[in-house]
Amino acid sequence: MTIGQAAGLKLGKAVRDAFGTALKELGNEFPTVVTVDGDVGNSTRTEVFAKAFPERGFNVGIAESNMVGVAAGLAAAGKIPVVSSFAAFLTCNAYDQIRMCVAYPHLNVKMVGSHAGISIGEDGASQMAIEDIALMSALPGVAVVVPADAPSTKHLVKGMLEHHGPVYLRCGRIDVPEIYGPDSVLTIGKANQLRDGKNLTIIANGLMVGIALDAAVALEAKGISARVLDLHTVSPIDQEAIVKAVKETGRLVVAEEHLPHGGVGSAVASVTAQLAPCPIEFVNIGNTYAESGDPEGLLKKYGLTAEAIVAAAEKVCSR
């Protein structure tokens, strides 16, 4: 994996791994946390928690709808359930249950989707969540959080457990570069500026943050100065940071591992249209399903590269 190389970042753990470890480490501090799995705890890494706290881990089998309903019942009875599956199955297969049993009554359920995006690779489109941000952001009162790396995941998992109300946490499968240090502080709802710049701002989250930082380095070489904002929380969105970016840099590129509709790009575009209209270019997989392949090959084929961000930045600067 070459992500983060240009920016001088070193490869760290996958977000899902950091999630599993963090959950286990927080297990004693949050004694009402329980996990509810749909037979993929070894993929989502809730297994790490469930092995450490066997009485607090439930596996209800391959039955995502029931899984979410059970989690809602546990929450209504005072637990903090962390319910997880592949992001595609959690968000798509149990959407009505999330809507009715979690979002509508605003129950304290933490929903974690692993294997988000096309970077999962060889398993192909059926296992890739490329619409989960659209779906989960369309739930009033649900916080939608997309960590960029392992260290920030640790913080955001704690933030998620402390937050009162439903949260969706999106995790990737593959190892990603470390962007944050162990002491970085991240707050749900507050975007994080990773690099300043004056010609444009690249807004990204998840896997795309490292790629955005690479792109910023390449742009610098071309004389374009790019601010990079980690928009780890998509909902509620940090309007202030976005407006500030527009005011100070004039234009935006939004990069996300998602399809165009309903993702970070359209959320940002709604904010700017209302508060600070400006040119934006969007970097995403396009309006398509992806396919099987190696993660790096897929990212390239579906346009999620530093080169694509550079091209978008050049384009937006020329508008």
């Binding site: 607090r56 089998g61 029931n66 309903g69 059970v70 019942g73 546990l74 209504a76 637990k79 509508y104």
Partner: protein, 310 residues
């Protein structure tokens, strides 16, 4: 804990109603909850609930009276027959017994029972489905804290019940969770997922009640799908199952008593009922015995109320 179970209860008058309520309860409701009604009293109560159902849906001009009617004996036995231990002063008391109405469209029967218990004033029933009322067309637990689950999308309540039952079990609580489903609703696969998960965890503190009233939205349940032999199906999922006439309150009480005595697995009651039971003589002449999702006209409501008079 056991004190509760036997009807002794410390009363805090100041907390008797939940924070949204506007008036103090009558003495009656406490007795109703903590001392089981006699059989005759319960039979009278079924009429009270039925009258509420007719009145509130006709006043609302929409809603599901026939779906509510079939469930009256079961709801009456649960709330007034000593099966459910709960406290209008603390609707979220953690060891309360839970009743989840998975067939949420039948919520008038639940509102009627809750009002009779004193959770909110009986007069509030007449606000059903009106803008601003907490008595919405389908149960909304966020707005009314005596509601255990927000339902209305069919098929989901039993899963929520499994969650409650698991939590109670973890916390060493004796609370029992009852979930009522419709026979049409049994078509939802999620119900079968929930049945399987309850079997796995041997949730003896969970009872599913299938209100088998023979109809669903577009016709007879046996015509829409052929699921109607529920007992062998649910048994094959490892549950203890009884089939009864659910409009016979004595059979209902007997079945609930047996259900509570089973200690090694979840229990189900297939409650064979009639949709619109109690007002069928009024519905029959309309030629629509299902009468799904329609309130009675003012005229029919008068007739029904006459039929349901004490």
């Amino acid at each position: 804990m056991n004190l509760w179970r036997h009807g002794v209860h410390w009363l805090r008058e100041d907390l008797l109603l939940n924070k949204f309520s506007r008036r103090l309860p009558s003495k009656e409701y406490r007795v109703a909850i903590f001392k089981p009604l006699s059989l005759d009293e319960m039979k009278a109560k079924t009429k009270v609930l039925r009258r509420h159902i007719v009145r509130m849906t006709t006043e609302a001009g929409s809603g599901h009276p026939s779906s509510s009617m079939s469930a009256v004996e079961m709801v009456t036995a649960l709330f007034f027959g000593g099966f459910m231990q709960h406290d209008p002063a603390q609707p979220r008391w953690n060891n309360r017994d839970r009743f989840i109405l998975s067939k949420g469209h039948a919520v008038p029967v639940l509102y009627a029972a809750l009002a009779e218990c004193g959770y909110f004033p009986v007069e509030e029933l007449m606000t059903l489905r009106k803008l601003g009322s907490r008595l919405e067309g389908h149960p909304n637990m966020k707005r009314l804290d005596c509601i255990e689950a927000s339902t209305g999308s069919l098929g989901q309540g039993l899963s929520v019940g499994v969650g409650h039952a698991l939590a109670c079990h973890m916390d060493g609580l004796s609370a029992h969770t009852y979930v009522m489903l419709g026979d049409g609703e049994m078509g939802e696969g999620q119900v079968w997922e929930a049945l399987a998960s309850a079997e796995k965890y041997k949730l003896a503190n969970l009872t599913a009640i299938v209100d088998q009233n023979g109809y669903q939205q577009t016709g007879a349940t046996k015509d829409v799908l052929k699921l109607t032999e529920f007992q062998p199906k649910i048994e094959s999922f490892g549950w203890h199952v009884q089939t009864i006439n659910g409009n016979d309150i004595e059979q209902v009480i007997a079945a609930l008593t047996i259900a509570r005595s089973i200690k090694d697995r979840p229990t189900a009651i297939v409650s064979k009922t009639q949709k619109g039971f109690g007002i069928l003589p009024v519905l029959a002449p309309t030629g629509d015995l299902n009468y799904h999702g329609k309130p009675l006209s003012k005229e029919l409501a008068e007739k029904a109320l006459a039929l349901l008079a004490d």
